[in-house]
């Protein structure tokens, strides 16, 4: 029984970086070491974690979704307007969005298109639709979402409960269920999966649909926190979600992803922003610092990967 399997080692880096960052934040600002403090620190992490999971499903089948930010923004606009005023129309539109995501996955596969280009094009479509639906910031959050996001469970803040829940559900879905194995197989070796009699088309449609589902959840929870929406509300989610997956130990190719790692990655990125502002780093350097964090984590991982390879080939 080996305690440090490569997979666990992979998860150790994001977990440790989160712990170090959290320690640093506590040290800089001891008042965050409380129920309210933690809630404030991690509040915005819930939609980011959901968007990261959505991105993970796309990356699992070796694609990359550059429309995540505009899609989440569009969903937020639907949630703050139609879901609020005309639930039937609102939920219908959200269901259509998920179907559209699945269709994009199918088109990309059938036509062998580059996912980056198609999703970049889609980012225009979602962005345009969001502007059409909500030209000026506004709308309001449906009561039940607002109530859910502002709930105060005993002992542990809602943001952390939600993060653990998301991690647990997606871990089961991706790592434990047979569907998850199939999807990761498509990312690992599409040809083998096809020869084994599975429909790659269906698998990819499911992967994209799941991405759509989690992206919709991200948009809805975001509105629950902000209480109103705007066509540009979540544009940075594209980059945050990709960075979150990578920080959490995911790879671009090979279907090698970690849902728990992705959630931890999203939490780390959220915390990084607070950490930088506690350090009184000017907002100018905030995105630059996020870039640096990404590079440092990847460098650490390179060192670990080399160790792993050395272990595999004695």
């Amino acid at each position: 029984m080996k305690l440090l399997t490569p997979d666990r080692l992979r998860l150790l880096v994001p977990a440790l970086s989160l712990a170090v960052l959290l320690g640093a934040v506590f040290w800089l600002q001891p008042r965050t070491m409380s129920y309210t403090g933690l809630n404030l620190l991690f509040n915005l992490a819930v939609p980011i974690a959901l968007a990261t999971i959505a991105q993970m499903f796309v990356m699992m089948v070796n694609d990359l979704d550059l429309s995540m930010g505009t899609f989440v923004s569009f969903v937020a606009c639907i949630t703050a307007t139609w879901v609020q005023s005309d639930p039937l129309l609102g939920y219908g539109a959200l269901a259509l969005c998920i179907a559209a995501y699945s269709a994009i996955g199918v088109v990309i596969y059938v036509r062998q298109l580059p996912a980056i280009v198609v999703t970049l094009g889609m980012s225009f479509v979602w962005g345009g639709l969001a502007v059409l639906l909500l030209p000026a910031p506004g709308g309001s959050a449906p009561d039940w979402i607002r109530a859910m996001m502002t709930a105060k469970p005993p002992f542990v803040p809602m943001a952390i409960v939600a993060s653990v829940l998301i991690a647990a559900v997606t871990h089961w879905l991706v790592m434990r269920s047979s569907l998850g194995v199939l999807l990761r197989g498509v990312g690992g070796n599409e040809k083998t999966v096809r020869r084994a009699g599975w429909s790659v088309l269906r698998a990819r449609a499911i992967a994209y649909a799941l991405a759509g589902v989690f992206a919709v959840l991200a948009g809805m929870t975001l509105v629950g926190l902000t209480t109103s929406a705007d066509a540009n509300i979540a544009l940075r989610y594209t980059l945050l979600s990709i960075a979150g997956v990578i920080l959490g130990g995911g790879e671009f190719i090979g279907g090698r992803v970690s849902p728990i790692g992705a959630v931890i990655g999203a939490l780390t990125l959220t915390l990084a922003a607070s950490f930088l502002s506690f350090l009184k780093i000017s907002p100018d350097w905030q995105i630059g610092a996020q870039g640096m964090i990404l590079i440092i984590v990847l460098a650490v991982r390179l060192a670990l990967n080399r160790r792993e390879q050395r272990g595999a080939r004695p």
Binding site: L64, V107, R111, Q112, L113, P114, I116, V117, V118, L120, G121, M122, S123, F124, V125, G127, G128, L129, A130, V131, L132, P135, L239, I242, I246, F252, I253, S282, D284, W285, Q286, I287, G288, A289, Q290, G291, M292, L294, I295, L298, A299, L302
Partner: protein, 314 residues
């Protein structure tokens, strides 16, 4: 029959056909009144996309996964720093140009260092470096809009023989790129690496050197485009490069360059750049709102890519 075969053998012709069609539809709507103005505007704005598109084309040709996402940030930084250095003085134009080239070379080196030394996939490497570059640009700019030197400002909006100066510049750069690609050893090497990197390495091609030069070329061209754009628009803005992320990739793909790498196409960049600008101005002419314009731009890009893919696959 031979004419037809000629058309099918040259995928880039389609981009010109599409550009011409949109141009025709637009001037028909205005009854021919806007012919000269529209053509000049199209050439001017296409020139910027052409310059960044050429750089992106070389990068994409290196093979799957190669794409430079730092183009917008590079453009912004080059424009900002160059205008700051020149400080509206006509005498400092040469210095400004040198600084522009320096910015491009520096970012190119940084990008490839991340790709090679840290083995980061190019997408994430250029993404993380673009965060840092963007931060540097924000810190340099500080919201102050410095005007370009008068001579440069005049040059960038003036025309020669009825064709805008920036379009002439784009033509010179395109001819240079075409010679580099079709007649020079460098272009053959880039294509060979894109077709099969392993085979290229075994054939004795200095793969790392060529890839390094390609990323540098792309960054330098982006810097030049940023410099020109900031002179043209009377100052550098922090978001001035943002639309060129999609544009640079879209013109490469629509222009008939293989997305999977290995086959590049210079003339197609022109057709695609003109087409993309003309689509937007056509929608403007027909009075489409910003939202509709965005949706249709996205839909058209995806439709063109889907249409082009059938020819590429079968």
């Amino acid at each position: 029959m031979t004419a037809l075969r000629f058309v099918f053998a040259k995928p880039w012709l389609w981009s010109f056909v599409a550009a011409f069609g949109t141009w025709l539809v637009t001037i028909l709507f205005t009854g021919g009144a806007s012919t000269l103005g529209l053509s000049q505007a199209a050439l001017t704005f296409a020139a910027f996309s052409i310059i960044v598109g050429l750089g992106q084309m070389f990068v994409v040709t290196l093979g799957p996964g190669n794409v430079d996402l730092s183009i917008p940030a590079t453009m912004t930084l080059a424009g900002t720093v160059a205008l700051k250095v020149m400080d509206t003085q006509d005498g400092a134009i040469l210095l400004g140009l040198l600084v522009t080239l320096g910015v491009g070379i520096g970012i190119g080196i940084a990008n490839y260092a991340l790709i090679k030394l840290l083995r980061i996939p190019p997408i994430i490497a250029t993404l993380s470096s673009s965060f840092i570059v963007q931060s540097i640009a924000i810190a340099t700019n500080r919201g102050i809009r410095i005007k370009p030197p008068a001579v440069l400002a005049e040059f960038s909006i003036a025309s020669f023989l009825g064709v805008p100066n920036v379009a002439w510049l784009a033509l010179v750069i395109s001819v240079f790129a075409w010679v580099l690609l079709e007649k020079g050893l460098f272009g053959r090497w880039v294509s060979a690496i894109g077709q099969n990197m392993r085979a290229a390495r075994l054939a004795g091609i200095p793969v790392d050197g060529v890839r390094f030069l390609t990323y540098m070329l792309c960054a330098v061209l982006a810097a030049i485009a940023g410099f020109l754009l900031s002179c043209f628009s009377g100052g550098a803005a922090l978001n001035m490069g943002s639309e060129y992320l999609l544009t640079s990739i879209a013109v490469v793909v629509i222009g008939g360059t293989a997305v999977a790498g290995g086959f590049a196409n210079v003339p197609g960049i022109w057709g695609a750049s003109l087409f993309l600008f003309l689509v937007v101005s056509m929608l403007n002419t027909y009075g489409a709102s910003a939202g509709v314009r965005m949706v249709l731009t996205g839909v058209i890009i995806i439709a063109v890519i889907i249409a082009a893919s059938r020819k590429a696959v079968r």
